[in-house]
């Protein structure tokens, strides 16, 4: 860890602990109830050996004629065991309910807060983090925190209380030297466990890393299976897999070796305490310094303490992992979103805005620079798009087409002094974010749909629309017949657990999803690439009616998609290279014309067409 990362970790940890404190201040009562229950449970745990000792002493004294233990008194004493156990059962139940129950409330609240934050964060965040990384926060990390705040706290409190109570009892009521002698191995035990814990943790991490590598390799081999098979690489893949498999095996064996020493060492040490009791306690009992019953009490206490103490290592591990995870989670929770209302000026109040925007869009000397590498994605773009007009955007991959609409929808924000986008004269950054987006219908490039029903995906808004409206939108985007072929029609589930759609079907459903929203501004981001030419023609014909009265931006690779636009711009390296109508651009005889010819076939090769 570099110094910078270390201080970042500390800061996140501090904030994370602050969050935990906030949680505790709201839920402390649960923990207090839990601790009271633990105290009761521990008292009961201690009472059992004490009672056994008393009974033994009474029996021994009776046989030696010093006491008179009647059968009735014996029965009474013995039935107390059951009474103690019942109280302990209740106490234990309540402990778990309060403490571990509270930890799951924390689990719920944190996961919910995390998702809430995820909903707020922008592409700036998601471009930096992989899905797996973010998921791990909700699974592994949150799990570690929940365990630390539940099981971890419960066991640690339990162990401390037991140790304190039993030591106090022994010192007050019994021989101090014996108590000390028997308790000597405990601190050693704790030290050994925590040292071992570090070793085990290290090797465990190696196991996890090698497992992650193995999984990564496997995932790649399977995802690339078509290449592997086409190029007859199976045997090499197997050999390569073997390497990762072997590494994982070695890591596991290394872990096993240290684990194999760990547990026997623990039981050896606990046996040594019994040995001390046996020799030392046995001898002083014979000398009459302690009674037989007291010998049995100490013996019982040892039995009661050994288990929690061997847990200490595990719990320290829990707490340590919890700490690291808290810091990671708080990093997410304190993540600043970079696009929000009031980032620049106070947004205009909605009651001062029209219900719907008209859709006069002006890009004014707009420039945009991406990320740390400072790639210029847009360079001085000016477009004046009147209400009801369609803008066609075409250009090479990476020429800035998608950036243009990402700035319009405020997926990214352009910097100060880098130009301006206005709609109906409002700077888009002065409009409330959700109002702006409420006025824009969007069909994405990556045709993303959710694993829910078709009607959920098409409807996709707060408003519940009628079946007819949904069917209508689906018809307009030319996917109605496909939908009707599915067994459950509009109720067909999509995604892994349902039907896998073809790319073209997905794109058309995405179009339906945007159409149904009935927005004054529509953006189609290269959304017809996976449908064939004929279908494209039909969809375009349908859209022609839909575009009436709306401002549209259509991004495409195929010229046929944007041919009819009122204005076409050709982007290259973030600049507008050419602009005009289709015919104008053709007669301009520039890039557009070249693209057009390439797509048709250039004159030499296309000789056959004449």
């Amino acid at each position: 860890m570099s110094k910078r990362n270390a201080s970042k970790y500390d800061e996140n940890l501090k904030r994370g602990i602050k969050l935990l404190k906030e949680f505790l201040s709201k839920n402390y009562i649960k923990y207090i109830y839990g601790f009271i229950a633990i105290i009761f449970a521990d008292l009961c745990t201690m009472l059992t050996p004490i009672l056994s000792g008393r009974i033994v002493d009474a029996i021994v004294n009776t046989t030696n004629g010093l006491d008179n233990l009647t059968t009735r008194r014996l029965l009474l004493l013995c039935s107390i065991f059951i009474g103690i156990a019942l109280i302990k059962m209740l106490a234990n139940f309540l402990t778990r309910l309060f403490v571990i129950g509270a930890s799951f409330v924390l689990d719920f609240a944190t996961r919910s807060a995390m998702f809430n934050k995820l909903l707020e964060l922008t592409m700036n965040y998601y471009n930096k983090k992989s899905t797996g990384e973010v998921m791990a926060l909700s699974t592994n990390d949150l799990n570690a925190v929940t365990r630390a705040m539940g099981m971890g706290i419960m066991h640690i409190i339990n162990t401390i209380i037991l140790l304190l109570f039993s030591a106090t009892y022994l010192i007050i009521n019994l021989n101090v030297t014996l108590t000390l002698a028997v308790f000597i191995p405990f601190p050693i035990l704790i030290i050994i466990i925590s040292q071992f814990g570090k070793f085990i943790h290290k090797r465990f991490k190696k196991v996890q890393e090698s497992f992650a590598d193995l999984t990564g390799k496997t995932e790649e081999s399977i995802a690339g299976i078509r290449v592997v098979k086409s190029f007859v690489q199976e045997e090499y893949e197997i050999a390569n897999f073997e390497k990762f498999n072997e590494k994982n095996y070695q890591a596991n064996v290394a872990l096993a070796k240290i684990r194999a020493i760990f547990h026997p060492t623990l039981s050896l040490l606990s046996n040594i305490t019994y040995f001390i009791l046996l020799i030392f306690g046995g001898l002083i009992a014979m000398d009459g310094q302690i009674s037989l019953g007291e010998f049995i009490v100490v013996n019982g206490f040892l039995g009661m303490l050994v288990r929690p103490i061997t847990f200490v290592g595990m719990i320290i591990n829990f707490l340590q992992r919890g700490k690291v995870s808290v810091s990671r989670i708080s990093e997410l929770l304190y993540q600043q979103t970079d696009i929000y209302d009031g980032k620049y000026n106070k947004p205009i109040k909605e009651d001062k805005l029209p219900d719907k925007l008209r859709g006069d869009i002006v890009f004014n000397n707009l420039s945009f620079v991406y990320g740390e590498k400072k790639i210029k994605a847009l360079d001085n773009i000016s477009i004046n798009l009147k209400h009801g007009y369609t803008l066609g955007v075409i250009g090479e991959v990476g020429s800035g087409k998608t950036t243009l609409v990402n700035l319009l929808t405020r997926v990214f924000d352009y910097e100060e002094n880098q130009g301006q986008i206005t709609i109906d004269g409002y700077d888009i950054r002065d409009l409330p974010l959700h109002y702006l987006r409420d006025n824009i219908g969007y069909v994405p490039q990556d045709n993303f749909l959710f694993s829910d029903t078709i009607s959920y995906n098409v409807n996709f808004s707060l408003k519940q629309r009628s079946k007819d409206e949904i069917a209508d939108a689906v018809k307009k985007s030319n996917v109605y017949e496909d939908v009707m072929e599915f067994p459950d029609k509009f109720d067909t589930l999509l995604g892994e657990k349902g039907v896998n759609l073809s790319g073209g079907q997905k794109q058309r459903l995405c179009i339906a999803r945007a159409l149904i929203q009935n927005k004054p501004i529509m953006i189609f981001d290269d959304c017809l690439s996976a449908v064939d030419v004929e279908t494209e023609k039909e969809i375009l014909a349908n859209l022609r009616d839909e575009r009436e009265g709306r401002t549209c931006i259509v991004i495409a690779h195929r010229i046929s998609t944007i041919k009819d636009s009122d204005l076409i711009i050709v982007l290259g390296d973030g600049k507008i290279i050419e602009s005009g109508t289709h015919d104008e651009l053709i007669s301009l005889n520039g890039e557009y014309n070249k693209m057009h010819r390439l797509q048709l076939m250039d004159e030499l090769e296309g000789g056959a067409a004449s």
Binding site: L69, F81, I279, E534
Partner: protein, 605 residues
């Protein structure tokens, strides 16, 4: 192990629906299947069992020695004059005690090592077996199965079986041995007291059975809820832009909170269940303790047994009850392992790609391809190819055109032997594809797929893959297909790092790399699925040139989208809805004014 749920997204290949039932039925053979992987290692397990037996004996000796010590103390108290004898005796007990403890230490150590290492070996071997089997599976399997679930089979399910061997199997025997050992010891010590201890067993067994039923239900349900959360999260992280642009944050938050709440509630039920079960078992063992103390106490008063024996019974009863609890709790791990084992079994029983009984050699392949009345369907009768016949002579360039879903890609897949045609025949150099060893066949073919898959590594290995090919040949291939220009501009040229999925390379660069990959083996046949996704004009020209260079002197079949590719072909097949509708050169087909002409005018004019 922490769950390694990385949430793999399944490749969006292949259309048909998948419903993998995660709750596979667990048959009688499950346990047998699970254990059979251990058969080659049986001597080690036998040794482990022997050691476990020894550990059990040492465990049983300890309370016995303590009981004897207690009797010594009690006798010493009643007869103070013999104290020194008893002191000597207790010292020797102590020495035996500590010796036994050391013995147990050594045995436990070796036992753990043997078990863990053997188990790791089993898992390693099983993993290799499963992976090798997966590599041999036919394409239909990968069409139907998401990548993530195959990975889970190979990595996670094998891990869960490891749990079974290391923890469950041996603890199971340890628990059983312990129970048997305790019963024998108790009977040898005192029959009446033994019966007293055993009298609470029915109560315990009843509770255990009840618990097991409930626990199974709750645990299954928790797993399901957790996986629902994971699926939801991974999907919404990928689709966050859509959620935000459609202003759906509030809806999504409440959808998420709903499943999150269900998860919490299931967990609370689990807490309650466990909060009752374990303490209840303690109540039962307290009943046993009370009975032992009462019955034993009376007998001590009448001097029928010694106080040391009563102590032994208290200890032995605990050692007897503990296995009952742990056996009950073990059930969950077993269940998970059994499910994993069953899944692996299903995978291993999936038939691999067929190998011809007596393969004819493709020695010195010419590269002639013939389709004779080929019919093909992915499922029973939904014909994708209908009566397709054509011949490609060695060195000929053939272009396939047609609308999406016409069956173009299927033709290429069939030539590669990814699927078996149902009717007709496909001949390579006059030999039926059914009689050719598929691996040998594929070695003669270079393929380029629409979506280029890059492996983690460097440029060189991405071109030559794992084949033993000198770098000169790699460079030559890259030059031929126009890839060398951009490669030479990279900092480390051919050693330039390629990350996971090669995301640092542009679409055009990826395509050029895949051309080089197809060419580097100098194949007789090229099968090209031309990429539709457009790249910039300059790269486009590079790609076109590269393709033409590649095809020189080879038999090639190209699914063509670019007109330039089409006009350079010796022959064009126009396919519509699984049938070859038209066949001929570009000029011939245009003259026909048929399907091809229509497509041509729509697309290019």
């Amino acid at each position: 192990m922490t769950g390694m749920n990385k949430g793999f997204r399944a490749g969006s290949s292949a259309g048909r629906s998948i419903s993998l039932d995660e709750k596979q039925k667990i048959g009688k053979d499950s346990l047998k299947n699970l254990l059979k992987h251990a058969i080659p290692y049986w001597p080690w397990f036998l040794l482990a069992l022997l050691l476990v037996t020894m550990i059990t004996v040492t465990e049983l000796i300890r309370p016995y020695l303590l009981g004897l010590a207690i009797d010594d103390i009690s006798k010493a108290i009643s007869n103070p004059e013999t104290v020194s004898d008893y002191k000597d005796h207790i010292m020797s007990l102590g020495i035996i005690f500590i010796s036994v403890a050391f013995l147990q230490f050594v045995i436990s150590y070796f036992n753990t090592i043997i078990l863990n290492v053997t188990s790791a070996k089993i898992i390693k071997a099983l993993r290799s077996k499963v992976f090798a089997h997966v590599m041999s599976l036919p394409f239909r399997y990968f069409d139907k199965t998401p990548v993530g679930s195959v990975v889970t089979r190979i990595c996670n399910d094998t891990n869960s079986i490891n749990e079974m061997y290391v923890n469950v199997l041996v603890n199971f025997f340890r628990d059983i041995f312990m129970m048997i050992g305790v019963i024998i010891t108790m009977f040898l010590l005192d029959v009446k007291m033994t019966l007293v201890v055993l009298s609470v067993v029915p109560l315990m067994a009843f509770a255990a059975i009840l618990f097991r039923k409930k626990a199974r239900k709750i645990h299954t349900s928790i797993r399901a809820r957790l996986s629902a959360i994971n699926i939801f999260l991974s999907e919404h992280i990928s689709g966050m832009k859509i959620v935000q642009l459609f202003n759906m944050q509030k809806v999504k938050q409440s959808e998420f909170d709903k499943i999150n709440l269900q998860y919490m509630n299931e967990n609370k039920s689990r807490i309650k269940l466990w909060g009752i079960f374990r303490p209840f078992m303690e109540v039962v063992s307290a009943i046993a303790l009370a009975l032992i103390m009462w019955v034993g106490g009376k007998d001590v008063l009448t001097s029928t047994i010694s106080i040391g024996v009563v102590y032994m019974f208290i200890n032995y009863s605990r050692k007897f009850f503990h296995p009952i609890m742990s056996l009950t709790e073990m059930y969950n791990t077993t269940q998970a392992s059994l499910v994993s084992s069953e899944r692996i079994e299903v995978l291993l029983n999936t038939l691999p790609e067929k190998k011809p009984v007596s393969a004819k050699s493709l020695y010195d392949s010419k590269g002639k391809i013939e389709f004779k009345n080929v019919w093909f369907a992915y499922d029973d009768e939904n014909w994708i190819l209908k009566d397709v016949s054509f011949t490609v002579s060695p060195g000929e360039k053939v272009a396939i055109v047609g609308t999406t879903g016409a069956g173009k890609t299927t033709i290429i897949s069939l030539i590669l032997g990814f699927y078996r045609h149902q009717k007709g025949d496909i001949l390579i150099d006059g030999i039926s594809i059914n009689d050719i060893d598929l691996q040998e066949l594929r070695k003669e073919i270079g393929t380029v797929r629409q979506d280029v898959f890059l492996f983690k590594g460097d440029i060189e290995t991405n071109i030559k893959l794992y084949n033993d090919i000198p770098i000169e040949q790699v460079i030559k291939a890259a030059k031929t297909v126009n890839a060398s220009k951009f490669i030479n501009q990279l900092e480390d040229t051919y050693k330039e790092e390629v990350n996971h999925r090669g995301t640092t390379f542009s679409e055009g660069q990826r395509q050029l790399l895949s051309f080089a990959r197809a060419l580097v083996n100098n194949p007789k046949i090229l099968l090209l699925d031309e990429a539709t996704s457009s790249v910039d004009t300059k790269t486009e020209l590079l790609i076109q040139e590269g393709m033409l260079q590649m095809m020189e002197g080879r038999t090639s079949i190209t699914i063509a989208h670019r007109l330039s590719t089409i006009v350079h072909s010796d022959e064009i097949l126009f396919i519509h809805k699984g049938r070859i509708k038209e066949q001929g050169t570009h000029k011939e087909l245009l003259k026909k004014k048929g399907y091809y002409y229509d497509l041509y005018t729509i697309q290019y004019s």
